[in-house]
């Protein structure tokens, strides 16, 4: 079966440009997480959805970052007026909340964002 799908795989943006990153979770996965991974660092939590509800957005670094999951499936992470410090790999992960596999995160391949 298909895993977590993220697009685009690579994105180059000019400073000040807005970008939108897409995540298509595994079908039936209720929970969806966004992480930011800078070069040489571990993934840093950004935000978390359960179905369409955004339960935690404490990791979003500024109000330029916005995430949505309007129908409880596909999610979009939007970054407005990108800055060079936004350059990173953005990872999406999904999981079940019930059963033996509850809490096990399945990660996408990530979107590598480079802001010039």
């Amino acid at each position: 079966g298909a895993g977590v799908s993220q697009s685009p795989r690579y994105k180059v943006a000019k400073r000040g440009q807005d970008v939108a990153l897409r995540c298509d979770p595994i079908s039936g996965h209720v929970s969806l997480f966004w992480y930011q991974q800078a070069l040489g660092q571990g993934p840093e939590f950004l935000t978390y959805f359960q179905n369409e509800a955004q339960l935690d957005k404490s990791g979003l670094p500024s109000d330029r970052f916005f995430a949505e999951r309007p129908e409880g499936s596909v999610s979009t992470l939007k970054i407005q007026r990108t800055q060079q410090e936004d350059s990173a790999v953005y990872l999406c992960a999904s999981s079940l909340v019930m059963g033996q596999m509850a809490g096990k995160l399945f990660f996408g391949s990530g979107t590598q964002l480079s802001v010039l």
Binding site: P43, A102, L105
Partner: protein, 109 residues
């Protein structure tokens, strides 16, 4: 605040040697601990979790609450174990994982 510390950025060993990847955490309650692995050109994936008390690919990890550690061990390293390893913590079901900065394991013959 909760934190995960992986003190080694790089660990290099020879094939057949024992491996121990260190992980310490800071949290006063009862956390869930995980090890995730990322092989070259692959996505991040779960290796093992402490509640399962399992051995995956010969790796084991024991939660030591007294020392707040969850070190990953394997008695005999293989070249295919070369990868990036991340320790992660979750303080409550349904919340996000907190990751360490990762340790690169390099196994050479």
């Amino acid at each position: 605040a909760q934190r995960v510390t992986q003190p080694e950025k790089l660990l290099s060993v020879f094939k057949g040697a024992p491996v121990e990847l260190k992980c310490n955490y800071s949290y006063s309650g009862s956390p869930e601990l995980f090890w995730y692995v990322q092989y070259s050109r692959q996505r991040l994936q779960l290796l093992l979790r402490h509640i399962s008390r399992e051995s995956i690919k010969g790796f084991t990890a024991d939660l030591n609450k007294g020392e707040t550690s969850f070190h990953l061990k394997k008695p005999f390293a293989q070249e295919e174990d070369s990868a990036m390893y991340y320790c992660a913590l979750r303080v409550q079901a349904g919340t996000a994982l907190i990751f360490g900065k990762g340790t690169t394991l390099s196994v050479s013959s």
